[in-house]
Amino acid sequence: MTLNGWIQIALFCAVVVALARPLGGYMTRVFAGKHTLLSPALGPIERGLYRAAGIDARQEQHWLAYGLSMLTFHVLGFLALYALLRIQAALPLNPDGQTAVAPDLAFNTAASFVTNTNWQSYGGETTLSYLTQMLGLTHQNFLSAATGIALAVGLVRGFSRASSRTIGSFWVDLTRTTLYVLLPLCIVYTLFLVSQGIPQTLGAAVEATTLEGAKQTLAVGPVASQVAIKMLGTNGGGFFNANAAHPFENPTALANFVQMVSIFALGAAMTNVFGRMVGDERQGWAILAAMAVLFLAGTAIVYGAESAGSPVLNGLGLTGGNMEGKEVRFGILASALFATITTAASCGAVNAMHDSFTALGGMVPLINMQLGEIIVGGVGAGLYGILVFVIVTIFVAGLMVGRTPEYLGKKIEGREVKMAMLAILCLPLMMLGFTALATVVAAGLAGPANAGPHGFSEILYAFTSAAANNGSAFGGLTANTAFYNTTLGLGMLFGRFFVIVPALAIAGSLAAKKTVPASAGTFPTDSGLFVGLLVGVILIVGGLTFFPALALGPIVEHLAGGLGQTFPSGG
């Protein structure tokens, strides 16, 4: 660890926090349907869309209708993407002649992008046509991000309204988020990325003759426009197999810094949106503070572990930390920081190979995802994820003093707590259940590239990443098989919708409640005590569930590596 490293971390945090308020202010206006700077340009398009779709923008929806709209939209999106993947060979914009994607891989990829997971069983440059990258993946990157934000806004309306039957209109939230928030940011962002060296072309792969006379095929494409939304929308699916480690997806230190900021920017701003919508910005800052505590702790562990390096390689005489799977232009710090950010949010883009991280350095990304990606989290998804934990925290606090818990003037009762626990329990069921299955069937055991505890970690990481809708991987796992494509695809779908539906149910039931005025006995939820309690509940409820599985993977690997033990592959 170096002073420069900590300066980079501090700078990153400062920029994210500084952006939260202005972005949050703008987004709050957008969600409220108010006039913004971009309204003169985008208003006509927005109204045109509503007219064509037969949507009355003033017509709000009950939470069930809101959820049904969301699900219908996803079913259609899923089918469209699946079809596109299957017939890409017959469609234009395919200069490198990519063939049809196999059915299991198409299912996996469609599930992956519709759920904002962006797990890569595919290798972009070897599998997908430019049309698929644009109309399939870039399109879904926008929609799944906008959906996450829309749902979070729906839940926040549950807190901010009193005695209301409705929580907003899914169609309006989706459209406005896409047009007013994501698209304008992406246009500016794309041009910045191209200026840094990310290709944006429809030309085919370039044939080069190297200085030593060998042939080198340089895969290019419309990369920058996809990278912009992949980061801002916390999608994370790479244009290339190596994702943001690929120099064409992340060419410079500046591009890397901006990409890291853009993963957190909208998610952090959503906490401010929350504060503004419930009429007290301090409530948003309290949530962001809890996130920051967990984030800094995780960053310090990964940075420390990667700086110390692998005991096995150090034993051979290497010094300078763990550089296997990392790029020189980023070094240890920017790789460790990126790994923490991408798994704290539900991004899943990687600028270094997590599979080659040290045991403890690779465990933090696992834990970040297992906690449900509530450390800033996915755009929207992070906010509704942490609000679920807030409800449990308030409930626990209420139990301690023997008082009916309340949050922001809403009484938290049995129904909300049950729904919150349902959302929280879904993730370990998917992550641990599928991992258990994969470790006992032959098709599952065929996957890992590494032997011993690290092989187990590869499987655990895959199902954790899928159910948490992250998308990063311990990439050694051969996941492009019928077994993994199917089980991971199911994990993603369950992990997304079995959290969303309970969250919407909470929104509906809260919106219908009356607001009770705060009294002397009300637990202040903008205090340090609340932040500490929230962090504690997240670590205990979220973390303890996974301790046994972590003990079998990274923890035992850490101990074995410390003794210099290695594991031969295939043994």
Partner: protein, 201 residues
């Protein structure tokens, strides 16, 4: 359900046209006009031929050139399409090694690479990036230490004074952005091009 279908279908198609076609195509046009070199992939031409991209490393195997980091990329086996063979710096299939910290294969590879590097330049400690595979397999850079480590070998192979080669490396070290962001590095392809341009004294 049925009354949800029309808005779902119309928005899916309309937003698909906006975000999946209009946006990337407009960006392609705009990027090509504003930053034509970068948009095309930062390609380097020499004598009318494309010799590579400034951003993508390439495999240097001879003594005469500075060599980049180990690369774990692979390509389809020409003999059996179902299998892959190692193909370092394959820019059509980026990948890292994905070997974990307790992998025997990784320890073996690093041990062999270390021995080779120590034989090349005895008495100096081997910089870590010279024996570890990059994440993309296409890392265009070396740390300044890793480039300087190779100076004696390159100078020997080219019959140049070491000082001259060392000066060339040092002139091509890129520092951190504004002294803070990223890590100091040397672009290997640019360095080797400059090396080829060096006139014998």
């Amino acid at each position: 359900m049925l009354n949800q279908l029309r808005p779902a279908l119309v928005l899916l198609i309309a937003l698909g046209v906006i975000t999946g076609l209009a946006y990337p195509l407009a960006m392609t046009g705009l990027a090509g006009a504003l930053f034509p070199a970068q948009a095309a992939g930062s390609l380097i031409e020499r004598d009318g031929r494309i010799v590579g991209s400034h951003l993508i490393g390439q495999a240097f195997t001879t003594e005469r050139y500075f060599q980049g980091r180990p690369s774990a990329t692979s390509a389809a086996d020409p003999a059996d399409a179902g299998k892959t063979v190692p193909s370092p710096y394959n820019a059509a299939n980026s990948s890292g090694s994905n070997l974990g910290p307790t992998s025997a294969a990784l320890a073996e590879r690093v041990r062999a690479d270390l021995a080779a590097r120590r034989a090349e330049n005895p008495g100096r400690s081997v910089p870590v990036d010279l024996v570890t595979a990059s994440g993309s397999g296409l890392d265009p850079d070396l740390s300044p230490d890793a480039a300087l480590f190779q100076v004696p070998r390159v100078a020997r192979a080219r019959r140049l004074p070491e000082d001259r080669v060392r000066d060339l490396v040092q002139a091509r070290v890129q520092g951190r952005l504004v002294g803070i962001l990223g890590e100091p590095r040397v672009n290997v392809l640019a360095l080797n091009l400059a090396l080829d341009d060096l006139r014998p004294e």
